[in-house]
Amino acid sequence: MPELTAEVERLSLTIEIGEMPVRVHTTDPLFLSLLQDRYAGFVSSSERAEIDFDVETTDCSSAVADAPVRVTCQEGRWTLQRGDFLAQWEPARRRGWIRQTANPHSIDAVLRIVHTLVLARQGGFLLHSASAIRNGKAFLFAGVSEAGKTTISRLAPPDVTLLTDEISYVRRQGTGYVAFGTPFTGELAKLGENVSAPVSALYLLAKGRSNRIESVAPADAARSFLGNVLFFAEDEELVQATFHSAFEFVSRVPVFRLTFVPDSRVWELIG
């Protein structure tokens, strides 16, 4: 009599961003292959994982990726929800699950959210900014859409290592901050390098008719920072932590307004 059930092979992949390994388990080999391509350069051989996610891929085609994100916590269990995914994560157990269609965008969003939640408790954050390393120092270039994040990334000379053109990953380390490369891309559609360096300055981008750097009043710096920090959780404690992190950051890292014309000469001012 033939076997009626068969053991389904469980496939795993560890994605390490900002020194935080997250292991993803799936039974879908095509999805695994898709993740290997998507996170090339950030796939880790680490045995250790901060979080293990079981991913269940569904074929629901009505999923809407631009629906609002809801991130809530109840009895120590986070629920992450958008039109195209539903996920739960229990930090105490370091485990979670994700239900989504087999696409990289949904898990990308889940990873971003989880990283923001972890970083918020540690004084770090994800910032809507490009970032790059030059002469061993990391520089962040923050701004809203069209402010020039992708432009300044594209104009970077060869001695500059691009960490991201869209979402910067910053950890608190000692009395300073360290920026890490991320696979979170913007218009440039190019993964950042998986390296890190101490943050030397934050530039608030503005396009103009000349290249210039101006100082920014501390309160303006904090306001701009808060306007660019990625945060999704409906959680008072984490909102407060993120708020105070912003002030800590602007009190420790110089913040400037960088007005630039879109050509490579702007990089003469950086580094």
Partner: protein, 105 residues
């Protein structure tokens, strides 16, 4: 007319930087920047000092303004801040727990 008491909401985070008081609502992450008068009101809102006394001691002493006019303005500001859930208003004193959470720095 009954006295009005104001207290800082424990569900916000607040910081003063470069002379500006910024407050973020823990409820919906909205960021508020208070003007000078509102900042004075916020800082003095201990839940036990009547608004009238705050106005008299902290605002009228600082600005050339009629006490009655200042009180009316302060009430308007207080009600506006309360509407955003960053300040609490009551006709009874609201003793505050010690600021162990460190929400306001």
């Amino acid at each position: 007319m009954s006295k009005l008491y104001v207290a800082r909401s424990p569900r916000v985070a607040a910081r003063s930087l470069g002379g500006e008081m910024m407050i973020m609502s823990g409820r919906d992450s909205t960021l508020f920047t208070l003007n000078e008068t509102a900042s004075i009101l916020w800082q003095a809102a201990d839940g036990t000092t009547p608004l009238e006394e705050i106005v008299e001691q902290k605002i009228c002493s600082e600005f050339e303004v009629e006490p009655s006019e200042a009180l009316q303005d302060a009430e308007t500001v207080a009600r506006e801040l309360a509407g955003h859930h960053i300040l609490q208003i009551s006709e009874q004193p609201m003793p505050q727990p010690s600021p162990a959470s460190g929400a306001s720095r």
